[in-house]
């Protein structure tokens, strides 16, 4: 009897020990000076073996140059997942260096989930060459919380091959919404399964693209003081009316609702969607992750653009990191992400790997010397027709960027409703949908204070 009780106790204690042990191992201990272990996010997935190898090579080179630093990579896809973000941080599983999309900057910084890296900015390579407006996005009350990594504005991504097939000139992409509608009609007329213009309607992506569209038309989601909804406006109505007419009058948007980011990307990659709103990174992703044919895709400026929703991401440092870990993490960022000709800017290697080099998918350095050096390098090693993207580059230079609204995710969830409304119901009342969404948004803003 004694033995059996003891046995069970041992089991229970053993369990408790396992539990504690795992908790500790997750937060790397800052051992002796120099010996630092950091975990870094965004290693490419196993399904992209070449990119993964390039990353692993970079890690090897980096650790060789920084003796004492051990780098562990995580390959969660996508690297920022709002679902696991908070829990990972709370559970001590968060990487030392993690990525945050611009949509979530305010949330993460506001909740104290990122380390204040102001003391280190002087050591960050090319810090002063980063676009000031982009640096401003990661700054709160004079303190810096992140290293901007990617920045871009929204344009119109289109399939050049489909344009040609439909008798349209791929070198003269639509510049107005009327032209978009015409082009969409012609592409949809190519036959069963062809979609002229693809658009999201759920999983918060509908609201996100509504925001892109209303900004482009010169409208706003919120009033300047962020206290009231401002999307029930002529611009908001125009966005929905255009979508409604394309869907139900022209029948050029296909008959399937697209929910979640992958859905439209997948459709775009299959080569049967003519146009969609998107930044240049859409081209990169469609080619790398959704098997699109790299030569087929072009991007142009947003039609009749008045402003452009900024997109992008920044790297931030775990608030629980020790100074040594933070420094090692920033050194890694310098090496992999911020050095001309190295890491991700090693365009020669990228070309050899078959990456779509030449897409102007990153404007984080703007016109600064670093930015220009990168652009020269990119054009030099371009693996695809850079001219496909020139209309976008030209247009983007003139369109002012506009940041996301506060409480973006909650507002996007509300705005999914009017988007899915016009795309799923021919008799949808746009005024009603917008008025309802406005009421909901206002009470949300009131509740959030």
């Amino acid at each position: 009897m004694q033995r059996s009780t003891g046995l069970l106790l041992v089991t229970v204690i053993g369990l408790a020990a396992t539990a504690c042990g795992s908790g500790e191992s997750a937060s790397p201990s800052a051992g002796g000076a120099g010996a630092v272990t950091i975990t870094v996010a965004c290693q490419p997935a196993k399904s992209a073996p070449k990119e993964r190898k390039a990353w692993d090579d970079d890690v090897a080179t980096f650790t060789k140059n920084h003796p004492g630093v051990t780098v562990k990579s995580t390959d969660q896809q996508p690297c920022f997942d709002p679902k696991t973000f908070g829990p990972k941080l709370a559970g001590g599983q968060m990487e030392t260096v993690f990525v945050v999309p611009v949509t979530n900057y305010a949330d993460v910084v506001g909740k104290g989930q990122a380390l204040d890296i102001t003391p280190y900015t002087s050591t960050i390579k090319n810090w002063d060459d980063l676009r000031p407006d982009v640096r401003e996005l990661v700054t709160k009350d004079g303190k810096v919380y992140g290293v901007p990594n990617v920045h871009y504005g929204v344009g119109l991504v289109y399939n050049r091959a489909l344009f040609t097939k439909a008798g349209l000139d791929p070198n003269r992409p639509p510049a107005t919404w009327a032209e978009v509608r015409e082009a969409a009609k012609k592409i949809a007329a190519l036959g069963q399964g062809y979609v002229g213009y693809g658009e999201y309607s759920g999983g918060n992506t509908g609201g996100w693209h509504f925001t892109q569209a209303i900004y482009g038309r010169g409208g706003s989601i919120l009033t300047p003081d962020n206290t009231k909804a401002a999307f029930n406006s002529p611009e908001g109505k125009a966005v929905l009316q255009t979508l409604h007419d394309m869907r139900w009058v022209d029948d050029s948007m296909g008959d399937k609702l697209l929910v979640g980011w992958e859905s439209l990307m997948m459709a775009m990659g299959s080569g049967k969607v003519g146009m969609m709103l998107g930044a240049p990174d859409v081209v990169t992703d469609v080619v790398n992750k959704f098997r699109g044919n790299v030569a087929d895709y072009g991007i142009t400026g947003f039609p009749e653009a008045k402003a452009s929703l900024s997109g992008g991401e920044a790297f931030m440092i775990n608030p629980k990191a020790t100074p040594e870990e933070a420094k090692a993490g920033l050194a890694w960022l310098d090496f992999r992400f911020n050095t001309v000709g190295k890491g991700r800017f090693d365009f020669a290697r990228g070309k050899a790997l078959g990456n779509p080099v030449g897409v102007p998918d990153n404007d984080v350095y703007g016109d600064s010397p670093t930015g220009k050096a990168i652009q020269t390098d990119r054009v030099k090693h371009a693996s695809l027709p850079v001219e496909n993207y020139e209309p976008y580059v030209r247009a983007a230079a003139t369109v002012p960027p506009k940041a996301e609204p506060v409480h973006a995710q909650e507002l996007y969830a509300i705005l999914d409703v009017p988007m899915s409304g016009v795309l799923s119901r021919e008799d949808a009342s746009i005024d009603q949908l917008l008025a309802d969404a406005e009421t909901k948004a206002n009470s949300l803003l009131a509740a959030k204070g």
């Binding site: 033995r3 539990a19 795992s22 908790g23 969660q76 992750k289």
Partner: protein
């Protein structure tokens, strides 16, 4: 009881004298009487209904699976064809191989099997000992404890998902198999089934062993467990199948791509691969449970009816 057997026996005898067509053999009496059934119209209707039910069931439950398997054997172009082809024009198993790589199914499957077997071993150890204690050792407050354990059956898992998850986070069990195994062992239904069966084991059997000087562990191991094989089988299968099928908790607890279960892995990647690859992945994910069903069909059905008596 005697009358029932009589009825059965007479039912078996009666149709012997029917006309040429072979009578429908009736083993037990149901709503329709054997006499009605073997009347001229009764037989016609019976065969008609039987055929209709077989066709309907095959269409409703087998055809979707057929569509899934053949879908995986089509090319991405063929699978998007309208109208679709009933048979793959050029059946190929490539999609299975490709899906295996794309979803990293080897890792996912190994993880899932590991979690399911671990959950099984651990919850058997915990629940059998507990049920034995409650049934045969009868400690003070035993009934209170049993009641509290059974009360958890009233609270559906989804309702306490958030606090359960927060608890797992607090214990630092994210991406740790114990984060699935420990909650799996807190299974009131297993305890209920086991205890009820242990209750039916005769006292004499146990007392005989005790007279021979066996302690509680020996009694459990060499007297109770051997006679409890049927219920152990049922509980084992239930636990393994539940662990294999589970979705929400692994979605939250096993977030590392190296540690995901097959269900979660499929749900994360399904949006980014072509439809034939999705189907290939689904077929592979479905096969282990179908095999289990083939082998353990009797246990599973027994578990089901045992389940219906729970209250």
């Amino acid at each position: 009881m005697t009358s029932a057997t009589d009825v059965r026996a007479s039912a078996r005898r009666r149709p012997g004298r029917a006309r040429r067509p072979r009578p429908i053999h009736v083993q037990f009496r149901t709503i329709v009487s054997p006499h009605q059934l073997n009347s001229r119209w009764g037989r016609r209707i019976y065969w008609l209904v039987l055929a209709a039910v077989i066709v309907l069931f095959t269409l409703a439950f087998v055809f979707p699976l057929y569509w899934m398997v053949t879908g995986a054997m089509k090319t991405p172009e063929e699978i998007a064809e309208m109208p679709p082809s009933l048979f793959p024009a050029d059946p190929t198993a490539d999609a299975f191989v490709e899906a295996w790589d794309l979803f990293d199914i080897g890792t996912l499957l190994a993880n899932t099997v590991y979690y399911a077997l671990g959950a099984w071993l651990f919850s058997m150890a915990v629940d059998v000992t507990a049920a034995y204690a409650l049934s045969k050792l009868r400690p003070v407050f035993g009934n209170v404890i049993l009641g509290a354990m059974l009360a958890t059956l009233m609270i559906p898992p989804m309702v306490i998902l958030i606090p359960l998850y927060v608890t797992i986070v607090d214990l630092g069990l994210l991406n740790n198999p114990w984060g699935l195994w420990l909650p799996a062992a807190a299974n009131g239904f297993n305890i209920f089934l086991l205890k009820r069966f242990f209750d039916s084991i005769s006292r004499e059997l146990i007392e005989a062993a005790q007279i021979d000087g066996a302690g509680p562990v020996r009694v459990l191991w060499s007297v109770v467990l051997p006679v409890s094989r049927p219920i152990l089988g049922v509980v084992s299968i239930l636990t393994i199948v539940t662990a294999f099928k589970d979705f929400v908790l692994p979605l939250l607890v096993m977030t590392d791509s190296e540690k995901m279960t097959i269900s979660v892995g499929l749900s994360q990647t399904a949006g980014a691969v072509t439809q034939n690859h999705v189907m290939g992945g689904l077929v592979i994910a479905g096969i282990p449970m179908i095999i289990v069903f083939f082998i353990f069909q009797r246990h599973i059905m027994a578990g089901l009816t045992a389940g219906s008596i729970k209250g």
